[in-house]
Every structure is written in structure tokens, then in C-alpha cells.
């Protein structure tokens, strides 16, 4: 990590610590959830336009979100999306970018960002979708696994 990035990561850690002390974890988790939801909406729109998608299928959604969103952020192989049936997506994140930046993830502040992004992008693509289970690195799991049910 460059010195500049180290400085920004350090500032980010200090900001989160102060936000937590002043406003509490509920506030931080809510803000990250909202950011994730907005990102999810924007991501779905961007992919639909970029790949000229008329109607999403779970497998197209899985392929494009890995290629266009997760891999640029996490590196190749950093995430995979499995279509377990016509109505379920299993998203596996092998790398947490926050943890990689040396940020303490045990308070689960940043998990709500990922939840909001994955759930809302699927909602926008398929009309309705919700997270039905998750297993998170912040809870001690080796990787983050988020299962999303598509309700069509």
C-alpha cells in the first residue's frame, strides 16, 4: 500500500472510531447500508446498459457482477457467484477489502454495505430479492457467504 493510501486508511479508521463514539454503531451500520443500497442500484443500471441486458437471468447477473463489480474491486478470484437454483444466488467473498486495508471488521460496520449492495442490485434486476442467510468473516467465518432468494 502506498504512503498516501496508508494515510487515507488511517484517517478512515480514526473517523470510524469517532463516529462510533459520537453516534453509535447503529448509525454507522445504517449509513453503510444506505451507501450499499445506492451502489447496488447504480451497479444494476450500469451493467444493464453496458451489457445491453433486456431481461436479467440469474446466470447473466452472476457473471456480469463478478466481472464488472467484484473482480475490479477484489482482484481475480476474490469473489464468485453461484446460481444454486433458478431462484437463489450464493455470493462468496474470499477477500474483505476493509480487512485487507488493516481495518477492524469485528464490529460489522462494513458488512451492511455489502448486504445493501448485493441485495439491492438483485432487487433492481429481478423485481424482488432478499438475503435469506449469511455467514461472515466478521463472525469468524473463513469467507463471507451471502445467499439471496430471488422472488419472481
Amino acid at each position: 500500500m502506498s504512503e498516501q493510501l496508508k494515510f487515507i486508511a488511517s484517517m478512515f479508521k480514526m473517523c470510524m472510531s469517532e463516529f462510533d463514539m459520537v453516534m453509535g454503531p447503529e448509525t454507522i451500520m445504517t449509513i453503510f447500508r444506505l451507501i450499499g443500497e445506492r451502489q447496488g442500484e447504480a451497479i444494476e443500471k450500469r451493467m444493464r446498459e453496458k451489457f445491453n441486458v433486456k431481461e436479467w437471468t440469474p446466470s447473466d447477473f452472476a457473471n456480469y457482477i463478478v466481472k464488472d463489480v467484484f473482480e475490479p474491486a477484489l482482484g481475480e478470484g476474490g469473489a464468485e457467484v453461484i446460481v444454486s437454483s433458478d431462484n437463489e444466488l450464493i455470493i462468496k467473498f474470499k477477500i474483505c477489502p476493509f480487512e485487507k486495508a488493516g481495518i477492524d471488521i469485528s464490529k460489522k460496520f462494513y458488512c451492511t454495505y455489502t448486504e445493501g449492495l448485493t441485495e439491492n442490485s438483485a432487487k433492481k434486476a429481478f423485481g424482488d430479492a432478499e438475503i435469506i442467510s449469511e455467514d461472515l468473516k466478521s463472525n469468524g467465518a473463513p469467507i463471507c457467504t451471502i445467499k439471496i432468494k430471488i422472488k419472481q
Binding site: 463514539m21 453516534m23 447503529e26 451500520m29 445504517t30 449509513i31 447500508r33 444506505l34
Partner: protein, 120 residues
């Protein structure tokens, strides 16, 4: 009966006991579970702001008296908002400008105990 239906029942019973304009059950991460807020409300943002109010109120309670947050009454020129923590969820109630604070607080405490049990 689903958890959502049980929460709806708690809100309905609360509305029968006290004069309220709307109510909602919200997760502490700012997601709406059940609501009967006035139609013009932006539910998503109300849910997010309620979680933020709970977080800030808890921290203020600790800083002021080293105490534990119990409830919040937000007085607004056009009505009031009451907020109480209920374990993993938050109960929010909207009233007119001149509510019976004692009765509402009492009934909200009772409703929050029920919600705490419902959502574990």
C-alpha cells in the same frame, strides 16, 4: 403466525390504546420491518434516521449519566415522534402536537417488551 404478522398485531393493539398517527418497527441497522406511517412519509429514510437517532441517543445517555438509553420524544412543530429500543428492533410512534405523553410512554414500554420477545 409470521414474525411480521406478530409485529403488526402489536402495532394494531398499540393504535387501539393510544391516539397515534402512525407507527413502525425498524431493525437497528435501519431497515423497515413493519410500518403504518402516514402515506407521504419516506419510509426508507425514516427507518434509517430512526436507527441513527437510537445510536446517537444511546451514546448521549452514556456520556451524560453513564446511563442506558430508554426512550426519546422528539417534539416537532407539526407533531411528535416517540422512539424506544426493543432489543434487536426499534419501535417508533408518531402523534399529533399534544399527545398524552404518560400514556403513550407506558403503552410503548409494554409494546417494546412484546417486540423484544418476538424478535429475540
Amino acid at each position: 403466525m409470521s414474525l411480521v404478522d406478530e409485529a403488526k398485531k402489536v402495532l394494531t393493539e398499540l393504535g387501539e390504546k393510544v391516539n397515534i398517527l402512525g407507527s413502525a418497527v425498524i431493525r437497528t441497522n435501519g431497515l423497515m420491518i413493519v410500518s403504518s406511517l402516514p402515506i407521504e412519509s419516506n419510509e426508507r429514510m425514516i427507518a434509517a434516521m430512526s436507527a441513527a437517532l437510537l445510536g446517537t441517543s444511546k451514546r448521549t445517555a452514556e456520556a451524560l449519566f453513564n446511563g442506558n438509553f430508554r426512550s426519546l420524544n422528539l417534539e416537532i412543530d407539526k407533531g411528535n415522534m416517540f422512539l424506544i429500543g426493543a432489543g434487536k428492533v426499534i419501535l417508533v410512534v408518531l402523534t399529533d402536537v399534544a399527545p398524552n405523553v404518560g400514556l403513550i410512554t407506558l403503552e410503548m414500554e409494554s409494546a417494546s417488551e412484546k417486540l423484544s420477545k418476538i424478535f429475540g
